[in-house]
Symmetry: C2
Subunit: 459 residues, 2 copies
């Protein structure tokens, strides 16, 4: 029988951290060193682990319960319970320190925050920071101004550390305009047009663009001892870990590509990174799925294998229509993204009565994007179900960087038939002349990832 | 009135070369220096230029006739004409020195030779040299063994020359397994399923794979003075010219990419390059359209613009369905190719009677390929018109090179319905999760390039 006050004293700064689960109390001191999620477990120390396991739901299985049970030291004192449960004020909410968000973001989940950019934000080339879509897997770490260190671990185990000051003073600064897109962007379209999918039901707003500023990863890796021209055999992947335990990796060929533009970024559209977007330090991997642009970056491990994290191994992969029970080990992690496009607004400048015999002028706008730095070379629009296509005008936005890491905005003016409903279709082509699949059925996957079929809007 | 015997003496080795066109005789000495096609014009000197203009049909227009007319010096003597025309034996056939070809190649045009690989050759991972598809724009140059020099011209006009011996002795040798594919592969499918297209009507055999051996272009360029880390501002494109005047270019980013594997190749599948495939020296640009892998390479010019050749500027581009009069200047040259796949054989191991109520086992084989070194990660087959898909087995062929520059062969065993005809469909996905468009209508272009819709074979 242990009192809550005593449990509270065994917090993350204590030499013997404890956690509770339900009524049970555990001394996890000996577990921390081998915990796959690393020291992030200390965030829960001194209180209940239940709120965290609701986020890291991977813990909710028997073998994890069994591990924890080995460290049990007692139960919470009856006096501290109400109806046999912990009172809600005694349970730490990991999200109380999250920043405020713009009310116009379309929130899918609040804890952790997942919110997409509304049409207003999608209409601009550079998405304003407060309109940039938010994809958080956990809470937002709290970092004291200027107090942060990045550690790089080389394949031989050697570690080098860099303060923010080191990074800013010792390496040349670079600007790169890059679009970040979630693998699940437009997942709701796949659900609506094919069938149910697992995951957040994003519409077309899990994508945004910013000008990022920072130092090149390849320069810092070279300083740490990894010269691109003589990489050790086992330097195959750069694994990134964030302060909140999120992790992911990219192939070293991308990490050290002289035209790859991978940044350790401090700034976003000319300002310090907002807390939601990785303050004070984030990786930006242009052309790759946003899941690899790890926020709140604290460690880089150079390894012969991909990140062991669940987000690298058991998420952000794609499957085929026949894969009803996906084999995660066989599917390739999503890195470069396929080509996609979307309509973000349709307007009707001079709408005649709907029973008019004349066709009806419409203006359509949207974006198109392809991964791997492949520039969008054309966007085609159809208002007759794909029988005929017109080419949209591509907007001449200016970007920084070695390749086309950005979306291309486009505009189209045409006619809509007045007799009944019209579906407006859009599809794009990139410089490798890849184009989008016509319909969702043939690219359907239970995860609903990479929903890139022709975008269709009925008006 | 000039006798044929005198004209003959003014051949390519004469200080005053002449050509004839129809009955007229021209002294082209002063024209050679400014001829856009360069010295290739000398191939026709001493005889009629008509056979060459049938190949270089770009000449058949008034402004070219006007230029030639300025150099007229007389007419062919009546005595040498039969019915007012040159006798056929007096007209040089530029193709008489072409090599013999394997009789099983499917010939589309004999002069110049354009012939595709038959199913037998497509079934092997490395296409046997004599089965490798042939795409010649002109005759095959005759090169004496070992007698060849490559010239590299830098942006400042400086030239460096390398004999074959220099290249072989001074640079490390590399092997790269690479698929070459014509931009027009499967053009006939587009014609059959959409509408008429201009160009050779290739089926699925304008593609082949070989192991190429040679030295890296980037190493030779570095020796010539172009270090990748400090390229001059105007070093944007590497322009290649062949002995027969064909020319094309690639972006410098590809030419010097440490993982780009661009070769100056001497060998193909372990043997000297066959004459049809570029003997003695050819560029291999893995992952790009084959039109950039210039054969019989004699010169590389580093420039701030693309090759001026018609094949770079007025060919090997792609358009949209609405571009009935293509604007060549606006379309981007095809470099990296989009993903495609094809069925190369369907067999029926134990065919029951066609009126059987049971489904009928079939085995299907084929290839899948994507440009830019993007590996094929899955191939899906449907026998019910795309309603359901099964995953094909990918063959584990071994390749050399930094990226996946090769086709992936695949096999599928399944059931075909016995009631009537069945269409077998195939589509592939690459590591950037790009996939193929469903049908030809939406990617139709008058040139019939990049016909990459799902391959359909009716059985």
């Amino acid at each position: 029988q242990i009192r809550l006050s005593e449990i509270k004293s065994h917090d993350g700064s204590s030499p013997r951290p404890w956690v509770t689960r339900g009524r049970s109390v555990y001394d996890i001191t000996d577990w921390i060193g081998v915990h796959p999620g690393g020291e992030v477990i200390l965030r829960a120390a001194g209180g209940s682990i239940d709120a965290y396991w609701d986020i890291f739901s991977i813990h909710k299985k028997q073998d994890v319960y069994d591990i924890l049970e080995q460290y049990k030291i007692g139960e919470i004192d009856e006096q501290d319970l109400i109806d046999g449960k912990l009172p809600s004020e005694a349970i730490d909410d990991p999200f109380t320190t999250d920043p405020a968000r713009h009310p116009e973001l379309r929130t899918l989940t609040a804890k952790p925050c997942n919110a997409e950019t509304p049409g207003k934000g999608l209409a601009e080339f550079l998405t304003p920071n407060e309109m940039f879509y938010v994809r958080n897997h956990m809470w937002v770490p709290v970092v004291e101004d200027g107090k942060h260190e990045l550690t790089i671990e080389l394949p031989d185990g050697e570690e080098k550390s860099y303060t923010l000051k080191d990074l800013k003073e010792r390496f040349p600064m670079h600007k790169v305009t890059a679009t970040l897109q979630c693998a699940g962007n437009r997942r709701k379209d796949m659900t609506d047009h094919a069938k149910a999918t697992n995951g957040l039901q994003w519409t077309a707003g899990a994508i945004s663009t910013a000008e990022w500023e920072g130092v090149k990863l390849k320069d810092v890796l070279a300083d740490a001892g990894l010269k691109p021209e003589s990489l050790p055999e086992d330097a195959k992947h750069a694994q990134f870990t964030g302060l909140e335990a999120y992790g992911a990796s990219i192939p070293m060929t991308k990490a050290v590509d002289p035209h790859g533009d991978v940044l350790l970024a401090f700034k976003m559209n000319g300002k310090d990174l907002p807390r939601d977007h990785g303050y004070p330090l984030r990786v930006i991997v242009p052309g790759n799925v946003a899941a690899r642009s790890v926020k709140w970056l604290r460690k880089i491990v150079i390894s012969d294998e991909e990140s062991l994290s669940q987000w690298q191994r058991r998420d952000y992969k794609c499957f085929g229509p026949n894969d009803t029970k996906p084999d995660w080990s066989k599917a390739k992690s999503i890195q470069e993204m396929p080509i996609t496009s979307a309509i973000t607004s349709i307007s009707n400048p001079s709408s005649p009565p709907s029973d008019s015999k004349h066709d009806n002028p419409i203006s359509v706008e949207g974006y198109a994007y392809s991964g791997g730095g492949r520039e969008i070379v054309r966007v085609d629009v159809s208002t007759d179900g794909g029988k005929t296509w017109d080419q949209a005008e591509l907007v001449d936005d200016q970007m920084s960087g070695a390749r086309a890491w950005c979306w291309k905005r486009w505009r189209y003016s045409g006619l809509k038939r007045n007799s009944g409903k019209t579906t407006v279709l859009v599809k794009a082509t990139d410089e490798a002349y890849n184009t989008q699949p016509e319909s969702y059925e043939a690219i359907y996957n239970t995860r609903g990832n990479l929903a890139t079929a022709w975008h269709r809007v009925e008006i």
